[in-house]
């Protein structure tokens, strides 16, 4: 093993040596520099591996042939080896990335770079406080030099601000060192700790100056204006170094020096970190400049790391894992993002559409963002989970709220950015230039994220309960993304069938789970069949579709809350990408993500509160929560964002309507059931029947009823067929919520019937309408019309769909209704029941509109030659129709076992449905799907025959056998009956459909942005003000301390 002292010798020796090379020797210098950067990588990594595997102990490197405290010593232990490895790898890759810029400046710039990396290494390893100061100054000066590399006005300004700010901070550090030595009698950190010199009052002041300087170096909010300017103005390659390199060293220094001070520093650090994490991310939400935005995010992440360090005693043995996962995500992702920003070269995040020019860059961009926000399976997900759980264990909920709120803000701006990259405008002339030396570093960091994810997973307490094979499968789908769509589609369907077959035995005794698993997997397979109609490669579709379905299935399979949340986040992420693929989906997908993130964090908080005082994380502990009111409410609101309860629904219509034709059924018919399943889990944990009088349920019942009414009202006035269906989904989910909130046996049975029905008919309708839209290229119903001749199969599908939707006998929608009214009467929620009944009537209106406007009436000229929807769309539709038929005729096949399960379980023992063959009865009456089917079938046949008999002599009128009076209207469609079809109702009921919720959220959004924008003005750009803020910061912390 090579002594770590050679890291210094090699880097510094080479830096000095480069001075001997002539100015033209940049080529040789480049090679020499790369080699001398590679050697430290080898040295530090070999130490890390050896120490980690136990083959070597931490070593102390003595200098000057003497021992500390007399001479300076360096330590290479596990932590040092880890951090130096990180720094050296960053150093090597960063050099490859920057080499073109550095070569332009000549050999000297490379020497500068070498010294920077050397300085960072010593800062990590040294155990002498003054030595630390010297090498921190080296780093400062080297960074100031690198900032200048860009050599424009902004970088000069930023460099000067940086130099003065850090200069002042380091002077305070020096004052601290003076007193450190004066009172402690040593400059050795370990010696000082051992002597416990803080007991003396003077040493406290020394430590105050020392630690406050390090904190200020970490750019705490709001004393960080200089740092933001640097991030913005420097070359992205240099910003990457600052963000990932120097921040890494500084955070380690803080960790190293904290034992010098008393416990109170931990608390201060927590506050400082929290303020920074929250403040920085909040201000980030109204930032458009790419590098400055990354600066805000960087500072925020460092704030989070400070919080982690501050909570060291509370986190206990989990500290290492939490720190590792939060740190490594920030380290890899931030450097990667800065590097990508250097490739894209766009100042504003709104111009990032150009990134689509490269698949690999877009892929890397995505994973870096997901890693930062903390989506599974990336390390920060594990870290944040563990941290929140540990904090919850000690009841620190305010801190959890801060962490989640900060993460939410961060997610907000990162996803807006991602939206611009995936969907933003992009001019065709511009091509993304990606030289290999610019893409290799971020690529390696991207891959490392997965490796780090693996380690975070294995270090995490619950990590081993996660099934990683599907994740590997998703990754594999990325690798084979170059294949044509139909191959990937087949592979995906095959995998889902395989999964379903394997899953069934393990859940077969739990009918409830089987039902949802069937919705998710069979629904998944059916919708994937429609995907065969897509030509080409369909890049990036399959991995995320699988991710969503895997997430959904994960909800069912979850045994503990960790797995549940993991699956929930996967589902969110996958569905977000699916939704944003639609042509005009950018804004809607963003809204979806906004609500999903917010909902997910509420769920997270709810889980955290439930876990308080409980030792396990089994799903059942929700019911044992010591703060049931909070836990239940938070979880319920979280799940309701997914089921789009009125008020939280505004993301849904756009997201569902603008998605691709075969994605709409996925996210509507299937995905929404994820939220329903969440509610089921919650309600069961609350205790089933026994909790029936819980006030939360009462309000949820109302909410469900109002949602049903509101959703249907909004649906009626839509001209857009897919939006109509989307609003109808809102209403249907309202029914389900209402029925679940009964918390009675029959109520739940009806809720489940509704869920199954909604899955069947909404998937059917979206597929059918999707097929139509695919052919006629418009969503507006009044532009369609008379399509029955061109698309008879689609017509039949829609007809069956709306009959089911409207709950007209004989189809299964009626079953739901029958159960539902039974439940309402038993429960006695008459008033709400009336609302829902009224809502049901309104549904007739839009059902009629849907079928009439699209398929009946006068065919339009331009659609005379449209073909029937693709066969791949029709196949799943008719499978679904068969499903509806079976479920209508023999509801007992499904409902009996569910009923049995509900009755037998301890949750809903009373008032069950009794079955006699196909006939179900309650004490209010009886019903048999089979008989109704028969009766209605006969009636229908008789009427049909009669109608045909009566109409045999009718004469067909040519379509244009009418004369318009007066002028020809410019948009003839709008004069048609089906345009603004229900305007008379609108006069009466329109006020109810005012977009109150949308207005509310818009105003909230607006205010938030204004506040963020206003607070940002704190950073006036005046370097002097920044210095004054730094001084004020010192004073404030002093006042807090003493």
């Amino acid at each position: 093993m090579v002594s770590p002292i050679y890291i210094i010798a090699i880097l510094l020796g080479m830096a000095f040596m480069l001075g001997l090379l002539s100015k033209s020797g940049t080529r040789i210098a480049g090679i020499l520099t790369s080699v001398s950067l590679a050697l430290p990588v080898y040295i530090s990594i070999s130490w890390f591996i050896q120490i980690l595997s136990g083959n070597a102990d931490a070593i102390t490197i003595f200098t000057a042939g003497s021992v500390p405290p007399f001479s300076i010593n360096l330590v290479m232990g596990l932590e040092e080896a880890f951090f130096t490895s990180a720094i050296n790898i960053l150093g090597l890759l960063g050099f490859i990335y920057l080499s073109a810029d550095l070569k332009k400046q000549g050999v000297r710039a490379m020497a500068l770079y070498l010294v920077l990396i050397m300085g960072l290494n010593v800062v990590v390893m040294t155990r002498d406080i003054f030595n630390l100061f010297v090498f921190m100054e080296i780093v400062t000066i080297a960074v100031a030099g690198l900032i200048y590399l860009k050599n424009d006005n902004q970088s000069k300004e930023a460099g000067f601000k940086y130099l003065v700010a850090v200069g002042i901070i380091s002077l305070f550090f020096l004052i601290g060192i003076g007193f450190f030595y004066f009172y402690g009698g040593t400059l050795n950190i370990d010696g000082f700790i051992a002597a416990n010199s803080v007991v003396v009052k003077g040493a406290t002041i020394a430590i105050f100056f020392i630690i406050i300087s390090i904190i200020l170096e970490l750019k705490p909010f709001p004393a960080n204006g200089w740092a933001l300017d640097v991030y913005q103005a420097a070359t992205p390659g240099v910003s990457a170094l600052i963000s990932s390199g120097t921040a890494t060293a500084s955070i380690f220094v803080l960790y190293k020096l904290l034992p010098l001070g008393s416990e109170i520093w931990l608390q201060i650090l927590t506050v400082v970190g929290a303020v920074t994490f929250l403040g920085s991310n909040f201000l980030g939400i109204s930032q458009k400049n790419t590098n400055r935005l990354l600066g805000y995010s960087s500072i925020g992440q460092v704030g989070l790391l400070m919080m982690v360090i501050g909570f060291m005693p509370q986190l206990g043995s989990a500290f290492k894992m939490i720190f590792f996962s939060v740190f490594i995500s920030h380290f890899l992702a931030k450097a990667g993002l800065f590097w990508l920003s250097g490739i894209v070269k766009k100042e504003s995040i709104t111009d990032w559409g150009i990134l689509r020019g490269s698949n690999i860059a877009l892929f890397l961009f995505g994973i870096f963002l997901f890693a930062l926000v903390g989506f599974p399976p990336f390390p920060s997900f594990y870290g944040k989970w563990q941290m929140v759980m540990e904090l919850a264990g000690t009841g620190r909920f305010i801190w959890i709220v801060i962490i989640l709120l900060g993460s939410f803000f961060e997610g907000l701006y990162l996803f807006r950015w991602l939206g611009y990259a995936i969907k933003g405008e992009k001019s065709n002339e511009e091509k993304l230039q990606i030289p290999w030396d610019k893409i290799v570093p971020p690529f390696i960091f991207g891959i490392s994220l997965f490796i780090a994810a693996y380690y975070a997973n294995s270090m995490s307490v619950y990590g081993n309960t996660i099934n990683l094979i599907p994740l590997v499968f998703i990754l594999l789908l990325f690798v084979i993304d170059f294949l044509p769509a139909y191959i990937k589609n087949t592979i995906t369907i095959g995998a889902m069938v395989y999964y379903a077959v394997n899953l069934y035995p393990s859940i077969s005794d739990d009918t409830l789970r089987v039902v949802f698993a069937a919705i998710f997997l069979i629904g998944g397979i059916l919708t994937m069949i429609a995907g065969y109609s897509v030509k080409g490669k369909r890049k990036g579709f399959f991995p995320f579709a699988v991710m969503m379905y895997f997430g959904l299935i994960g909800l069912i399979e979850a045994e503990n809350l960790f797995q549940f949340f993991f699956a929930w986040e996967l589902m969110t992420l996958g569905s977000y990408i699916l939704i944003i693929r639609g042509k005009f989906s950018m804004k809607h997908a963003f809204n979806y993500m906004l609500f999903s993130l917010g909902g997910a964090y509420l769920i997270f908080l709810g889980i955290a509160m439930s876990s308080f005082g409980n030792t396990s994380l089994d799903i059942g502990i929700i019911g044992l929560s010591t703060m049931p009111g909070w836990s239940y409410t938070l979880l319920a609101i979280g799940f309701l964002t997914k089921t789009a309860a009125l008020g939280l629904h505004i993301w849904l219509p756009g997201a569902h309507a603008e998605a691709e034709s075969d994605v709409s059924p996925m996210v509507s018919g299937i995905l929404l059931k994820g939220g329903v399943f969440g509610l089921i889990v919650l309600f069961l944990a609350m205790g089933g029947e026994q909790a029936a009088s819980h006030p939360l349920l009462y309000s949820l019942g109302w909410l469900g009823a109002i949602t049903a009414l509101g959703g249907n009202l909004l649906a009626v006035f839509q001209e857009d067929a897919k939006r109509l269906l989307a609003y109808s989904s809102v209403a249907n989910l309202g029914y389900i919520l209402f029925a679940l909130a009964f918390m009675t046996n029959i109520g739940w049975l009806s809720a489940l019937t509704y869920s199954i029905n909604h899955f069947l008919f909404k998937t059917l309708l979206f597929l059918a309408i999707g097929g139509v839209v695919l052919r006629v290229k418009t969503h507006n119903m009044y532009e369609m019309g008379g399509l029955i001749k061109q698309m008879p199969w689609s017509f039949i599908a829609v007809l069956i769909g709306i009959i089911t939707l409207a709950g007209i006998p004989p189809l299964s929608g009626y079953a739901g209704k029958w159960l539902f009214y039974n439940a309402v009467i038993t429960k006695g929620w008459y008033f709400q029941g009336v609302l829902v009944f009224f809502a049901g009537t309104i549904a007739f209106l839009y059902c009629f509109k849907l079928i009439y406007s699209v398929f009946l009436g006068q065919p339009k000229d331009r659609f005379r030659k449209v073909k029937e929807a693709p066969i791949w769309y029709l196949i799943p539709q008719f499978i679904l129709i068969i499903g509806i038929m079976i479920f209508s005729a023999r509801p007992d096949l499904v409902l009996k076992p569910i009923g049995a399960l509900l009755t037998q379980s301890s949750y809903f023992p009373s008032d069950s449905l009794s079955w006699e063959n196909v006939t179900a009865s309650t004490n209010l009456g009886y019903w048999s799907g089979y008989k109704i089917m028969l009766v209605i079938g006969v009636m229908f046949a008789v009427l049909l025959v009669w109608l045909m008999y009566m109409s045999r002599k009718t004469q067909k009128v040519k379509q244009f056998n009418i004369v318009y009076a007066g002028e020809r209207p410019f948009t003839p469609e709008t004069t048609h009956f089906s345009h603004n079809m229900f305007s008379h109702y609108y006069k009466a009921l329109g006020f109810l459909s005012a977009p109150l919720a949308t207005r509310f959220w818009n105003i909230t959004n607006d205010i938030t942005h204004r506040i963020a924008d206003g607070s940002k003005r704190l950073y006036t750009g005046n370097g002097q003000t920044y210095l004054a803020v730094i001084m004020a910061y010192i004073i404030i912390i002093y006042l807090i301390m003493f």
């Binding site: 002594s3 002292i5 050679y6 210094i8 010798a9 510094l12 020796g13 830096a15 000095f16 040596m17 001075g19 001997l20 490197i61 003595f62 200098t63 000057a64 042939g65 003497s66 405290p69 007399f70 001479s71 300076i72 400046q105 000549g106 000297r108 710039a109 020497a111 500068l112 010294v115 050397m118 300085g119 010593v122 040294t126 002498d128 003054f130 030595n131 010297v134 090498f135 100054e137 080296i138 000066i141 100031a144 030099g145 200048y148 050599n151 007193f179 004066f182 009698g185 040593t186 400059l187 009052k201 003077g202 002041i205 004054a1028 001084m1031 004020a1032 010192i1034 004073i1035 002093y1038 003493f1042």
Partner: protein, 235 residues
């Protein structure tokens, strides 16, 4: 007005904090353990009569390495920054007076020798590599003042700087190989206390430091000198 009063408050508060520190201070009348060690054991261990030198060059040799690195960096960055500003014709500077030129001829070698003396004797008398190096660099200032239009080669300075820098590191590494650790001065015999050839490698190291510091400060001065006259006179 508000800004000004805020500033006053900030400074007053800082002053108040510092006053707290000041009132907490009381002078000491004993060397602490560490300094005591340097003053007793250190004398025989390192063999330098100048205790500060033994601390600077040996015990805290790594700091000193960092320190010369800082000067190296500064010279390098200033070179990078000002290189871009060298463009354009330099106005020809006025010739210096006869007095200055004549005196320089006499003084330059003397000052140079004093500089060398100071860093060679750094382990015995007040002074050392930094002080000596600074004096060396001052000869350059005198040269620039008296021979205003002479050309001074960067190359010589760069080579001096690099060679002494590398030698410094090589000596440090030799310490790891031959003696007790990085920058150990005992790679050479300690010699007789108080003599020129004593204290092991200290005089050698200090000489290299002297040369390096001299070269680096000279480079900085040269860089600043070269931008002179490229802009208006108000600067």
């Amino acid at each position: 007005m508000l800004r000004n009063s805020l500033r006053v408050i900030i400074i007053a508060a800082l002053g108040w904090i510092l006053f707290q520190v000041y009132s907490g201070y009381s002078s000491r009348d004993e060397l602490n353990e560490l300094a005591g060690y340097y003053a007793t054991e250190g004398l025989s261990e390192v063999g330098a009569a100048n205790l500060v030198t033994s601390v600077v060059v040996t015990y805290r040799g790594l700091d000193t390495l960092g320190e010369v690195t800082i000067l190296f960096l500064t010279a390098l960055i200033i070179g990078l920054m000002l290189k871009a500003e060298h463009r354009g014709d330099r106005t020809r500077l006025r010739e210096s007076s006869e007095f200055l030129v004549t005196a320089s001829h006499v003084l330059l070698p003397v000052i140079f020798m004093v500089g060398v003396y100071i860093f060679i004797n750094g382990h015995l008398t007040p002074g050392g590599g930094f002080q000596g190096g600074a004096i060396l660099a001052s000869t350059l200032i005198l040269m620039l003042l008296s021979f205003t239009n002479s050309k001074i080669s960067h190359k010589v300075l760069e080579i001096t700087e690099s060679v002494s820098g590398i030698s410094f590191i090589v000596l440090g590494i030799l310490g790891v190989i031959l003696a007790g650790g990085f920058l150990d001065n005992k790679i050479l015999p300690l010699g007789e206390f108080g003599k020129l050839f004593s204290a092991g490698a200290i005089p050698v190291i200090y000489s290299f430091i002297g040369l390096k510091v001299g070269a680096e400060l000279s480079t900085i001065i040269l860089e600043f000198n070269q931008i002179q006259g490229t802009d208006d006179k108000s600067l």
